[in-house]
Symmetry: D2
Subunit: 152 residues, 4 copies
């Protein structure tokens, strides 16, 4: 359950995850953490690749780590980086979130200097999965009937 | 320029692009087309891969085709599929659009039965790049100063 | 250390990992497991995505899970699926392996009916990371001097 | 047909393609070109993305460009960069080549200073698709019967 205590633990788990980022190319470290329904927290960091396209972000690392351990019951996500503004998930990660999360699931974007003095909620920007990927493409669209018509 | 004529040509180019979709795994054909500032239209189809992760969508096919021919001055995008509802770009494609398009660039999502009788604008759903990827991560974030602090 | 006991544990960990595959689109379950220098085993399963391109294979799931927990000292990999022939990593995964593994690291490809009766090593095909990705592109190539000459 | 003339045109097309590389992050330009059975040449450059994972290499750009124009009858590939050694396709691209090319299709890896004085074939390293991705996973594996057994 997303209590204030769990929310703080979630944020700290995202911050700690960053320590294991493998980002020799971008030098851009990101940490992410999911809260699950049973209060478990699963975190992840970005893992870059010399081929660029093989890079996996922190959010997706956390997702596949959780799913491959039998957890898909996410109820909140926190994401943080080394930047003093809230950094938001890339589109690839948003699509992967879309596969497993409800559209109203909260996503906390945490600046590096959290808690920022005199900032609302310490500088956290709160979004939702649906807010990050409006009018999204999802699993249900693959089930719709096809009408393979060509150019008229 | 996005005249009514160019808009119609763009939609037809997206529909035609679908003919060359390579989608043996999903059987889901998608076509996309960009209008450039000089009225050129560049289109693309989805190209799937046995490894799943190697799949490239229609929108990204059209982007890399255009960019690799020296065009990055996109002013509108049309996307269509074999489905009777407007299908919207996946998150990966939204992120690639974000790299080259202005946030207010129009994106026309075209149903297979376009023009739908009695539907507003023939059933087209009009979005923008920024509307598809709100509070997006982009090139400018990679330029921000880093404060590589660890857990306190 | 790759003792016979550790090798058996590694194979069983790959087989168990398969149980948590999320593969509603391909219905193709894959499990993978890494042995680390301290005898720890980290496993992973494939996690598919409605966008196809967002899919992450079992091998990469295991890599990012390990790396994001501070482990990069892999000494062996086992991969298995629901197929009665040894299934081998896709090119994306081979590139990600290339980032963290030595070229002579053994990769055990395990058929679903392991141990196969009367088959050498129970039907396992043993490869190496370098054997899977010969003359590979790697981190060191990004360090080479550039001579940005154009067409003559 | 892979005549000496076509081979030279192919190499020059790869070199020219590099001019349109979009590589602000890696500063690593790559060009690729395919020869098709009707002697057409289709080329492409790498197109990077702020999200790293959204990056598409030169080889894949050329593939999707060709496929989305109805061409899949590739008979040779040339790849070049700004580096004085032959740079070879990443694993992602090798997997995408695997989808459309025969295993014995030649791949010419061209150094930036081609033709190198006193070097065999001007410094070109010639590989094959099958040689780049030995014991590969391909479309036919998705057709094999599954035996979804679990841990014993
Ligand atoms: Zn991401
Ligand atoms: Zn897409
Ligand atoms: Zn793979
Ligand atoms: Zn590549």
């Amino acid at each position: 359950m997303l209590t204030e205590d769990n929310r703080q633990s979630l944020i700290q788990a995202a911050i700690q995850a960053k320590e294991y980022a493998y980002s020799p190319y971008s030098k851009f470290r990101v940490g992410a953490a999911f809260l699950c329904t049973d209060d478990t927290i699963v975190n992840g960091a970005n893992v870059e690749n010399a081929s660029w396209g093989g890079t996996i972000c922190a959010e997706r690392t956390a997702v596949v780590k959780a799913v491959s351990e039998g957890r898909k019951d996410f109820i909140a996500l926190a994401v943080t980086s080394d930047i003093a503004v809230p950094i938001s998930p890339c589109g690839i990660c948003r699509q992967v979130l879309r596969e497993f999360c409800t559209l109203d699931m909260p996503v906390f974007l945490v600046p590096v200097d959290y808690p920022k003095k005199d900032a609302k909620d310490g500088g956290i920007l709160e979004m939702t999965v649906g807010g990050l990927l409006p009018y999204s493409f999802g699993p249900e669209h693959l089930e719709l009937p096809r009408q393979p018509t060509g150019p008229q």
